[in-house]
């Protein structure tokens, strides 16, 4: 029985992994343990991970993020390590003599997916001027010099316009995202970007915007405007972006 059963199981596994990706196979890939399904680095889960759930199949045990709630679908999957015991060869032989068959294989667990939580940045407001290129409110970027969080004079008028807008619209909420260029440590750049965000936060606060209407955060070097690797690109990337609720 065993000798028959195993090749069948193996064939089924292989078909599930390498065959044409049927609906069933793609769902099973998610819940199977990592040790049973080999993902080679060159053609891993990359393609299948981002796919929306198959609406027709109900067999998946994974609750996928509700589409439209956050717009950011983050998925996770479980990974079970094989269990391995080691001993000296002499002991192994003794154990063998005892003829004890240990049959505790790695157990499969289904991967969990949690909804991507998001700040409550949804809600309407009068945005007519936000999109009007003639309005200072359409300008959202404060650019910085190298190694500096000082706001240059050229951005004062634009910050005054945003301050005025937020003061007259007390329900308006803004997130201020500081950014750096790509050079150096990502985490240190994250801290530097925070300084740039807070510099805009303080400027707006001095212009009368209550602290509760704003949040200063940093994207570090992770969200470059320009993907280039020269001074022109770096200059563009050193900035703070003003994002309003709902955007």
């Amino acid at each position: 029985m065993k000798s028959l059963f195993f090749p069948v199981l193996l064939a089924a596994l292989l078909a599930g992994c390498s065959g044409t990706p049927s609906k069933v196979a793609s769902i099973e890939d998610r819940s199977v343990t990592a040790t049973e399904t080999k993902f080679v680095a060159d053609k891993p889960l990359v393609e299948t991970m981002g796919k929306p759930p198959d609406a027709t199949s109900t067999s998946s045990s994974l609750p996928l993020p509700a589409a439209g709630r956050s717009g950011v679908a983050v998925e996770t999957r479980g990974l079970v390590a094989p269990s391995t015991d080691v001993m000296g060869l002499a002991e192994a032989k003794a154990a063998e003599a005892a003829a004890k068959a240990a049959d505790t294989g790695a157990t499969a667990k289904s991967g969990g997916v949690q909804d991507a939580a998001i700040l409550p940045y949804s809600g309407g407001m009068n945005q007519a001027d936000m999109k009007d290129p003639a309005s200072l409110l359409s300008k959202r970027r404060v650019q910085f010099d190298y190694d500096s969080a000082a706001i240059r004079d050229e951005f004062h008028a634009m910050l005054e316009a945003h301050a005025k807008y937020m003061k007259t619209n007390s329900s308006a909420r803004a997130i201020l995202q500081g950014n750096t260029d790509e050079r150096g440590s990502r985490e240190y750049n994250l801290a530097l970007g925070q300084r740039r965000a807070e510099s805009v936060f303080k400027a707006l606060n001095l212009l009368g915007v209550p602290e509760g209407q704003m949040e200063a955060v940093s994207m570090g070097e992770e969200k470059p405007l320009s993907e280039g690797h020269d001074e022109a690109a770096w200059q563009q990337n050193r900035r703070t972006e003003i994002l309003y609720q709902g955007e």
Binding site: K2, S3, A34, T35, E36, F39, V40, A41, D42, P44, L45, V46, G50, V72, V74, E75, T76, R77, G78, L79, A81, P82, S83, T84, D85, V86, M87, G88, L89, A92, E96, A101, A102, D103, G105, A106, Q114, A116, A117, L119, Y121, Q177, G184, S185, R186, E187, Y188, L190, A191, L192, G193, Q194, E198, E215, V217, S218, M219, E222, H229, L243
Partner: protein, 401 residues
């Protein structure tokens, strides 16, 4: 993923790794661990693999392997092994390491595992061979975590230390950075930008469940595990621009660890849990400092140059690895914490995120080659280097158990 070796030891040990004897009932679908062992030892830079095809005739019992032909071939060591089924689910792997010159057995071990665990066993055999022949632990087992950026999408992947068996554990359209292994290797902390700002998550590897552990007002980043796995040191901006806090993972309480208006980030606990190393610009330029967690007293650790960041401590706590900027270029450097001697290990120019292997002898880091992110390793004497690359940009590596 492909691996390329740069440099290597001057005197490599000639070693013969024979194909393992696989029981007939396992023959189909079982890959030979000898191939994995040969890959590990060959890439390490410490060994010279000998062509084993010229010596014919493997005995049915590997233990009685005639050693004379291998001595004649110039081998200083011979690895031989066998695989047998054990019950219906598991297999037993045995291996022997012989010294054909002295006609002695240097090591013999047995492993029972599942078929899926065979690669892992092969890495442990590599570790045992390395230990027996070089007198120090190898770094072939263990796993690495890293981020891949591919077509504007971000994936947190976990792979074996030889970069095989890569699995995506988290996938996001927004950036992911700073993965950190829990001391028991069961959880990963990392930073995700999916909420328009950095938030620290902790994820179970077994079931993929994750939760946001630091999501305070402002930015939350740079997670580092305490040696007991109960706390995370994190950089938060909730009170001041960037300060370091200790986060109790059970209660969620955040206790502030650093003070003052400077930027403090990149915390790292010493393995004994007595010190917190971190990056700070309190002296004008980013440097590495350490704080006594009992007294709160802080002293500066790095003095050479005006940019020293991303501290990582060796498992014995004696060596500090970090990124050192020299002539506008970023290199991996190490410092002996006893004599404060600094040694630059790399000649690449955009190195980031150094992380020690479990044996403390190898560092894993990220660098750029022709505009693309790759991972690389370097031995702490700077002599042996490897490069790991695949499609997409690789970055933010962390070596775990």
């Amino acid at each position: 993923m492909t691996i390329e070796i740069v440099g290597g030891a001057t005197n490599r040990i000639p070693i013969a790794i024979l194909p393992f004897l696989v029981a007939p009932e396992l023959a189909s679908g079982t890959s030979d661990p000898a191939l994995v062992v040969a890959g590990d030892l060959g890439r390490s830079g410490y060994f010279k693999l000998l062509d084993t095809s010229t010596v014919s005739g493997l005995p049915a019992d590997p233990e009685s392997l005639p050693l004379a032909p291998w001595k004649a071939l110039g081998a200083d060591a011979v690895v031989v092994g066998q695989i047998k089924p054990q019950g219906s689910e598991r297999v037993e792997v045995r291996f022997w390491l012989f010294d054909p010159v002295r006609q002695t057995r240097l090591s013999a071990l047995s492993y029972t595992t599942t078929r899926a665990g065979l690669r892992g066993v092969a890495h442990r055999i590599s570790d045992a061979v390395h230990q027996a022949l070089l007198g120090e632990p190898g770094a072939y087992g263990g796993r690495i975590a890293y981020i891949v950026k591919h077509h504007g999408h971000y994936e947190l992947q976990v792979a074996d230390a030889d970069s095989q068996n890569a699995v995506t554990v988290t996938s996001s359209p927004e950036p992911l950075i700073s993965p950190a292994w829990s001391p028991d290797g069961r959880r990963l902390a990392y930073v995700s930008f999916e909420d328009k700002k950095p938030v620290v998550y902790v994820q179970n590897l077994a079931d993929g469940y994750r939760r946001a552990v630091a999501k305070f007002r402002g930015s939350n980043s740079a997670p580092a595990w305490s040696p007991d796995g109960r706390r995370l040191a994190v950089a938060l901006s909730k009170d001041e621009t960037s300060q370091i806090y200790s986060l109790d993972l059970l209660t969620g309480d955040a206790t502030r660890l650093t003070q003052g208006g400077a930027l403090d980030t990149e915390p790292e606990f010493s393995p004994d849990g007595l010190w917190l190393y971190f990056t700070s610009d309190r002296g004008g330029s980013p440097q590495i400092y350490r704080e006594s967690l009992s007294t709160g007293k802080v002293n500066r650790v790095t003095f050479e140059g005006n940019y020293n960041v991303s501290p990582a401590l060796s498992p014995d706590g004696r060596t500090l690895a970090f990124i050192h900027r020299r002539d506008s270029q970023f290199h991996v450097a190490v410092m002996d914490l006893n004599n404060h001697q600094l040694q630059v290990l790399t000649d690449s120019t955009q190195d980031e995120s150094p992380s020690f292997a479990g044996n403390g002898r190898v560092l894993l880091y990220a660098t750029m080659v022709q505009g693309r992110g790759v991972l690389a390793t370097v031995s702490i004497d700077g002599k042996i280097r490897q490069r790991l690359s695949q499609g997409g940009d690789l970055r933010e590596p962390a070596w775990g158990r």
